[in-house]
Amino acid sequence: MGAEGNGRGPRSSYEYVEGWGMAVGAHARVLRPRSAEEVARAFATARGEGTSIGLRGSGCSYGDASVNAGGHVLDVTRMNRVLAFDPETGVADLESGVTIEQLWKHILPLGFWPKVVSGTMFPTVAGATAMNIHGKNNFKVGTFGDCVQEFDIVLPSGELRTCSRTSEPDLFHAAIGGFGMLGCMTRVRLETKRVHSGEIEVRGVSAHDLAEMMQVFEDEKASADYLVGWIDCFGAEENAGRGLVHVARYLAPGDDPQPEKTLRVAHQELPANILGVIPKSEMWRFLRLFNNDLGWRFVCGVKHQLGRLEGMRGWYRQPHAAFNFLLDYVPNWKFAYGRTGGRGLIQYQSFLPKETALDAYREMLALCHARGHVSYLGVLKRHRPDPFWMTHACDGWSLALDFKVTPENRASLWETCDELTRIVLDAGGKFYFAKDLVLGHLAMLRAFPTEQREAFLALKRRLDPDALLQTNLWRRVFAPDECLTARP
């Protein structure tokens, strides 16, 4: 150990490690290995000490997926080299800590864009693979795991294995979406997509209620490349689920008169000022003033009306980064939810099959109103199934709801989430570990198919018999507690 990284093991320091939503965290020793050998050595050292290790990328999971109270945390961000990129096929070999930002900045000038990106550009590829993240194009191209060809993984035993769909298919399909419980990925081989412009064509479609919004998705599904719906959760009764759908599609060759210009990284920069005056790095302080029920009711109402205007505007063009990384427009916007004292946010994202989604989501939005926990941000997306064992995706929909957490509302918010969870489970829904902070063991048992879950646990038992790899998430959701939600 030692901050200098003196040959004996990876660099480490003692820090406070929290989930992105700031509602949970713990002090831990953070190890930052620079190679697969150092990862193996960290595993061996922790085993010798009788301590568990939790794996962490950029820490972009909202909940406790990369928090490990009472154990060490292994942070992969120091392993961040782009090992190879083939400009013919668009296949990239990346070390685990390469972020989506590094990736797109590397490949866009060569005419490629990652097939799947999240709403923020900061996750690492290993984190994205382990959590099997999705983007606004999940209905079309699947999850992040669907574009992974192969990866190297250091097992808890210290053994390095290379997994792909053909060699080690079990480990491949279990570790993708396996939330870092089977081993630490050290290299990921990723497919990317050829693009013919640095811009993308976007159109807004305003919807008066949830049914209309879902209809827009179904109408556009065949021709669109990206579909995402913003929901004004303050809309009640006949307005429930009103909002704005963004439809986007890639440009065909020749549509962009100057692709060499738009493909430059400089063209992708997000706007530096908001409304032309407020420097965006300080914007969150301004947002904080609105960060209450009344403020957001106003903001959402205005945004919905602006959305109706945008709906009349027709197609317009936006750089890829500006369209995809909406969460990065306002740096540190999460601080508007409070920076101290157990303040923060949780995102409650539920995945429902297409048959039951509309009724269940209507019921959930109404329940939020009835309980006085109205989400400040609702996002609707369309999904498709994928072959990974612990996947969240299904042929249906997801609704993500951001809730403000304060020390005062924590208990009642968790109870409301408990009620939401019942609706989701009764409708045959699933959950997503990168977002979750509220599920309990029983909910997990009901949400994930028995066969896949048992296979996953059997593999975990075989590869990690003494439970070296643990996180708060793992203990909360897979520990034998007989409750639906993990109470705060």
Binding site: P407, E415, L457, P488
Partner: protein, 306 residues
């Protein structure tokens, strides 16, 4: 029992079937249990709940502090003062025998734990820091760097070894300890770093060239730290004491405005709890002196014996 809790209870009892499916994952149950106990603590004791929601609970919650250079002088006074204020304090010094003299105050006070450590042994600091913070309860609120040496330098003495040893203790140790604290405070988004500098750092005097250099370096380093950590709401305070009645000043001539170490410690902690201060002269009247001295042009300063 609230309605929702009752419903939850009833609901879970209808799911008896699921209990039989619980994963048998109990190969090392002790590690499991230990970890679960900390998880619960992590959720309920995260800085959230240890942080004040109103003005009152701030003093009710246990707080933790580290004082480096605590065997005598201002450092020792700070340890006593902090413990009396209810802090759990770790006192660090080279001389273990001196540390044992630090008695926790009678009545309601915090714990005092002690560690013998030579600040020039920078390689040992990361591990020691983690060990101490864990012993203090997992988090840290305040670190004070008060270690410093000022050997007497004769008017015609140019001793490299003597000068560099001051650099190592006064500046090297400060950087090593503050870096550890900075990593923790940045990720906690709270904490206070206090460095005991000196008015001697304001100008390069004839008297103690290396000492003045280390204190000036410390002030610059702490300023940089203050700017780096501002976004994370970490308070970094540079203290510039005047003449304080300690071992360091004992036997020196021409002292005035001399205050006791306890008085100095009281003023320092007040400033540490007040974000208004980034640099604080102790006592405050030295600010006027410092301002005048800093304004004296060099051609004049070299002719003065101050």
């Amino acid at each position: 029992m609230s309605g929702a809790t009752k419903r939850a209870r009833e609901h879970s009892e209808t799911w008896v079937g699921y209990r039989q499916e619980l994963p048998r994952y109990r190969t090392d149950i002790s590690r499991w249990n230990r970890a679960r106990a900390t998880d619960n603590a992590a959720v309920s004791n995260s800085p959230s709940t240890t942080q004040p929601r109103t003005a009152q609970p701030r003093t009710a919650q246990p707080r933790a502090a580290i004082v480096v250079g605590a065997s005598s002088g201002i450092g020792a006074a700070l340890v006593r003062q902090l413990a009396a204020d209810g802090y759990d304090v770790c006192a660090i010094a080279r001389r273990a025998d001196k540390l044992s003299e630090l008695e926790p105050p009678a009545g309601a006070g915090g714990r005092i734990v002690t560690r013998a450590h030579d600040v020039t042994d920078t390689a040992a600091i990361p591990e020691l820091f983690e060990e101490i913070v864990r012993e203090l309860g997992g988090g840290l609120d305040l670190i004070v760097y008060a270690a410093g040496i000022m050997p007497a330098v004769g008017p015609e003495e140019y001793d490299t070894e003597k000068d560099l040893s001051q650099l190592e203790v006064n500046l090297g140790g400060c950087i090593a300890w503050c870096n550890e604290a900075a990593r923790l405070f940045r990720t906690q988004r709270r904490g206070t770093i206090v460095g005991i500098g000196s008015i001697a750092g304001d100008r390069g005097r004839k008297g103690s060239p290396a000492y003045a250099t280390t204190k000036a370096g410390m002030a610059t380093y702490l300023e940089a730290l203050r700017n780096r950590l501002a976004e994370a709401r970490v308070h970094v305070l540079t203290v510039k004491p005047g003449f304080v009645d300690t071992d360091m000043t004992r036997g020196m001539d021409g002292l005035f405005w001399l205050i006791s170490a306890d008085d100095a410690a009281r003023t320092i902690l007040k400033a540490a709890h007040n974000r208004f201060w980034s640099t604080r002269y102790v006592p405050l009247r030295w600010w006027a002196v410092g301002t005048v001295i800093r304004a004296i042009p060099s051609f004049l300063f070299r002719r003065l014996n101050i």
